[in-house]
């Protein structure tokens, strides 16, 4: 059961081979047993989860055509507001914060009859690529607990990889779904900006943040996205488009598919083991009928520095609301109002978050705005234009998701810039607002998973899922599971 696809679970529920309560219990028991060594979950609540499961069982949604996921458990990244549940965003700032409302994404899954298992660990305020910035301690990679799971959706990736949940939500600002999916051997999709509502998703960098599904397969992701996506009047950046069935094209053959290979993604910086796995995957695609096209993304090398202006700038402002006045951590001792602010924030935020707030404050400050922020936004335009040009000659772009397999704890945490470069292949996609996904494509050094990144044009999700699914029909990387776990 723990290895089943969502479709299989749905069928088992429909045929009454299992129940929502039974499934929830199965995964809750697993979490209880394995989470202490993985630290993927920050919060679980058996009572709440089972209550939801009982509601699902009694709702008539299980087995119904329009709610295929009813009764199936999932877990939410702790960045999503979850009414009545503690919602920490990986931060001490929110260690006692019980969310008073549901994020749109959470509400949609609730309405679909899915059962919340708990809240998943993450880099603090989604700022990190290794899960080492969480106030609740790092998440361990289930493939090797001495290594990082990636970040910031590291808890989501580890939980699904270790089969503590059949699926999870994640968010991706610069690679936070794709990079941990790659490092933990999962399938993860960051949709086109505006496809998934950001309402109730604690903002890191508003113009880049996008929620998406993390699961074992592309098919699972398609089903999850069907529920997760859609117009939300509470989010001004949510796009008003007709609903889509993201699973509609899953089975389409790939004959004639043009895959763009940016030479910038295949240069120095990529480890040899990653390169070997990615190239093997491309060979597989050739067999499936695809042709390879060389494309250029000449400005993609600027994406990391541009991102580290834009994202901290937005974050510095987004995180101002955490001031100890209406919710969140308030310092126990202070001299006056400003001291209360400065101490509460200094105590409530971790080092990486503080660093980014300071950088963001600086690049927006008087006299520096044009040189940093405005310049970064112009470069963002150049980067986006590169993709527009590239998609004239190809249907999707492929390359590595991350330059290396999962690294060991502490390997990069001393040097922020080295850590930032973990997202070198993913960040440009966020800057351009494009959909991107990572699928498992083999194993590299130390038998750690390698991810293949697929980038599509705006609203190319269904096509990308089709491309991923066809690959997953002829490979089994996505159903491998970490050894050493029961």
């Amino acid at each position: 059961m723990i290895n089943s696809s969502l479709k299989e679970l749905s069928a088992a529920l429909a045929r009454k081979k299992t129940s929502a309560v039974e499934l929830a219990t199965l995964f809750l028991d697993r979490i209880e047993k394995l989470n202490p060594s993985l630290n993927a979950f920050v919060t679980t609540d058996r009572e709440k989860a089972l209550a939801m499961a009982r509601v699902a069982d009694a709702s008539g949604k299980v087995g119904a055509g329009d709610t295929p996921l009813a009764g199936i458990p999932l877990a939410h990244k702790d960045i999503f507001m979850t009414s009545g549940w503690r919602t920490t965003c990986g931060s001490k700032m929110l260690s006692n914060f019980i969310a008073p409302y549901d994020a749109t994404v959470v509400e949609k899954f609730k309405v679909a009859g899915m059962v919340t298992l708990g809240k998943l660990n993450m880099d603090e305020f989604a700022m990190g690529s290794s899960n080492e910035t969480s106030f609740y301690g790092p998440v361990k990679n289930p493939w090797d607990t001495a290594r990082v799971p990636g970040g910031s959706s590291g808890g989501s990736a580890a939980a699904v990889a270790a089969r503590l949940a059949p699926a999870a939500t994640g968010t991706d600002t610069g690679g936070s779904i794709r990079q941990p999916a790659a490092l933990c051997g999962l399938t993860g999709l960051k949709p086109t900006y505006g496809v998934v509502s950001r309402y109730g998703m604690i903002a890191f960098a508003s113009s880049l943040d996008q929620g998406g599904p993390m699961a074992k397969s592309a098919e699972d992701c398609a089903l999850l996205l069907n529920t997760m996506a859609g117009f939300d009047p509470r989010d001004s950046t949510s796009l008003e488009r007709p609903a889509e069935d993201y699973a509609r094209d899953l089975e389409k053959p790939l004959q004639g598919l043009r895959i763009g290979l940016p030479k910038e993604f295949f240069g120095e910086g990529m480890d040899a083991d990653v390169r070997a796995a990615v190239e093997a995957a491309l060979a597989e695609y050739r067999k499936l009928g695809a042709t390879m096209v060389e494309v250029n993304l000449p400005n993609s090398g600027l994406s990391v520095p541009a991102y580290y202006v834009i994202a901290p700038a937005e974050a510095s402002s987004n995180l101002s609301r955490f001031d100890g006045v209406r919710y969140g951590h308030r310092a126990p001792d202070y001299a006056d109002l400003d001291d209360m602010y400065s101490k509460s924030r200094a105590q409530g935020f971790g080092e990486e978050v503080k660093r980014r707030i300071l950088i963001g404050t600086y690049v927006l400050s008087h006299g520096y705005y044009d040189a940093y922020y405005l310049q970064a936004q112009k470069i963002r335009r150049l980067i986006a234009n590169d993709f527009v040009a590239a998609f004239k000659s190809c249907d999707v772009i492929m390359g590595p998701t991350a330059p290396s397999v999962a690294f060991r704890f502490g390997d990069k945490s001393a040097d922020p810039v080295q850590m930032y470069l973990s997202d070198i292949y993913t960040i440009a996609v966020n800057l351009a607002g494009l959909p991107g996904m990572s699928i498992p494509c083999g194993f590299g050094n130390a038998d750690m998973p390698v991810g293949l990144q697929i980038v599509g044009p705006w609203f190319g999700e269904a096509k990308m899922l089709n491309i991923a699914h066809r690959y997953q029909l002829v490979t089994d990387w996505h159903i491998r599971q970490p050894g050493g776990l029961p």
Binding site: E314, S317, S320, D323, Y327, L364, S365, H366
Partner: protein, 478 residues
């Protein structure tokens, strides 16, 4: 060499919407603390703003009313600073591309007219309120007002005295209430002014300005500017330099003092709000709003002057507020256009004085315009003298009688206009006062007035004074 002041005003007008500018919370005034502060207003994590269409419509209305340009595309920006009544740690405002730019207002000080240019008007959200009453030495924060839509209207530094500033503020107040985008309630903070004041020697370059925040009455505006001008002159004359500062007016001490909380004012780190997309206003929408605009005060003023032969002063007084103008127009409609001048006199005279005395305004006049028109008609047809008319006015004000005619009937106030009856009275008076008649004939004009007085007394005040005059002169001459 003498000094001159340079003054610019920034006015925050709360827009009359049902809900807030970026959330669905109600905007009604006076709710219990924080009961009209929804998740967006208190800035819970994860919430997002969505722009209220009506707030934009109000801005368009204003732009059209002041002859400004409406931006086809404008941008919302974040103004970042920490303050407990600012829940997000930033205010959503407009910075580089405001929705309205240019335009202006004509003001009048004494006999002088002046055009005050507007720099811009932009949409933004209001902050909450800090209550400094004692909560164990702490400050209480009420966020009901947070997110209320504001239009910030900024002038060029075109004014040079407190009188001009007040005239501008009054004209603006009249306009925003006239077009219905603001209730104008200054006590509730719906209309508040910040004044930028600097002084310089006549002809010298601009001096350093200080900004007086949150002036919520015309009286405070006047007093604060006067104080500030004098203070700045004194500083400079005593050899000190003016430092740019934000100051508060203390009405109790009659002084301004620098605000401590504005230390970071020079670095708001404005940037486009990534949660809000560019606001586009199509020409069709502007046309639609234009069609819904009422006649504007300037246009109405000109029309009243030309239609009814009113003086510019009278026309200006009658169009001071839309309620006054409406009252006057309703009154004229009922009294007849030929009586417009009498209507104007009564509206500006007796009625205004009475409203003033009873602390009322034209929004809630106890006397319907049709009732005042009834009085005017009876003055016109000589049924009532002015004196009797005032008595009828008082009676109707007190709620006595359903209209002027009913009061005249009930009180027997009908003026005696029958010349036979008046002649009889005159004859009797002349017979009884031979001495006065003699004096008049001897050239003493005063004696004539005494005789008129006697006739009016005999008539119990109801004789038509003009007829009494005419008939008496004829009799004495004959």
């Amino acid at each position: 060499m003498s000094w001159e002041a340079v003054i610019g005003l920034e006015t925050h007008a709360q827009l009359r919407t049902q809900s807030k500018i970026f959330s669905g919370a109600a905007t009604a005034f006076g709710a219990e603390p924080n009961r009209q502060a929804c998740a967006v207003d208190i800035a819970l994590p994860g919430v997002l703003p969505v722009l209220n269409r009506e707030a934009v419509a109000c801005a368009i209305k204003f732009g059209l009313a002041v002859g400004a340009a409406i931006a086809p595309r404008s941008i919302f920006a974040r103004k970042n600073y920490f303050y407990p009544d600012l829940p997000k740690g930033y205010q959503i405002s407009q910075f580089e591309l405001p929705v309205v730019s240019g335009g202006g207002l004509t003001i009048r000080v004494g006999e002088q007219e002046k055009f005050v240019h507007l720099t811009r008007a932009h949409l933004e959200e209001d902050a909450g309120k800090s209550l400094h009453e004692d909560f164990h030495g702490k400050t209480g924060i009420d966020l009901n007002r947070a997110g209320t839509p504001l239009l910030e209207i900024v002038t060029e530094p075109d004014m040079c005295s407190s009188a001009e500033a007040v005239a501008y503020a009054k004209a603006l107040h009249s306009l925003v209430t006239w077009i219905g985008i603001c209730d104008g309630n200054m006590q509730e903070g719906s209309f508040r002014c910040d004044a930028n004041v600097s002084v310089r020697r006549v002809g010298a370059p601009l001096g350093t300005r200080r900004e007086i925040k949150n002036l919520n009455s015309f009286r405070f505006l006047q007093a604060a500017i006067d104080y500030e001008i004098q203070w700045q002159i004194n500083e400079i004359e005593e050899g000190r330099k003016i430092q740019q500062a934000t100051v508060l007016w203390n009405p109790d001490s009659g002084e301004t003092r620098a605000m401590r909380s504005k230390e970071d004012a020079h670095d708001y780190r404005y940037f486009p709000d990534p949660d809000l997309l560019p606001l586009e206003i199509a020409p069709a929408w502007i046309d639609e709003v234009k069609a819904s605009l009422p006649e504007l005060p300037q246009a109405m003023k000109a029309r009243l002057a030309s239609d009814h032969g009113l003086s510019p002063y009278d026309a200006a007084t009658l169009t001071a507020t839309r309620a006054t103008a409406n009252y006057f127009e309703d009154c004229v409609a009922a009294a007849g256009r030929e009586n417009a001048k009498t209507c104007a006199n009564w509206v500006m005279g007796e009625l205004s004085a009475r409203l003033n005395r009873e602390d009322l305004d034209f929004v809630a006049v106890p006397l319907a315009p049709t009732l005042l028109a009834g009085i005017v008609r009876r003055i016109a047809d000589n049924t009532l003298s002015n004196k009797l008319a005032r008595e009828v006015f008082d009676a109707l004000w007190a709620g006595e009688g359903k209209d002027a005619d009913a009061v005249i009937e009930a009180r027997g106030l009908k003026q005696i206009s029958d010349s036979g009856a008046i002649e009889a009275l005159i004859d009797a008076v002349l017979a009884a006062n031979p001495k006065s008649v003699e004096e008049f004939r001897a050239g003493k004009d005063k004696a004539f007035n005494a005789l008129v007085g006697q006739v009016m007394k005999a008539a119990g005040g109801k004789a038509n004074p003009r007829q009494v005059n005419d008939l008496l002169r004829r009799k004495l001459a004959g």
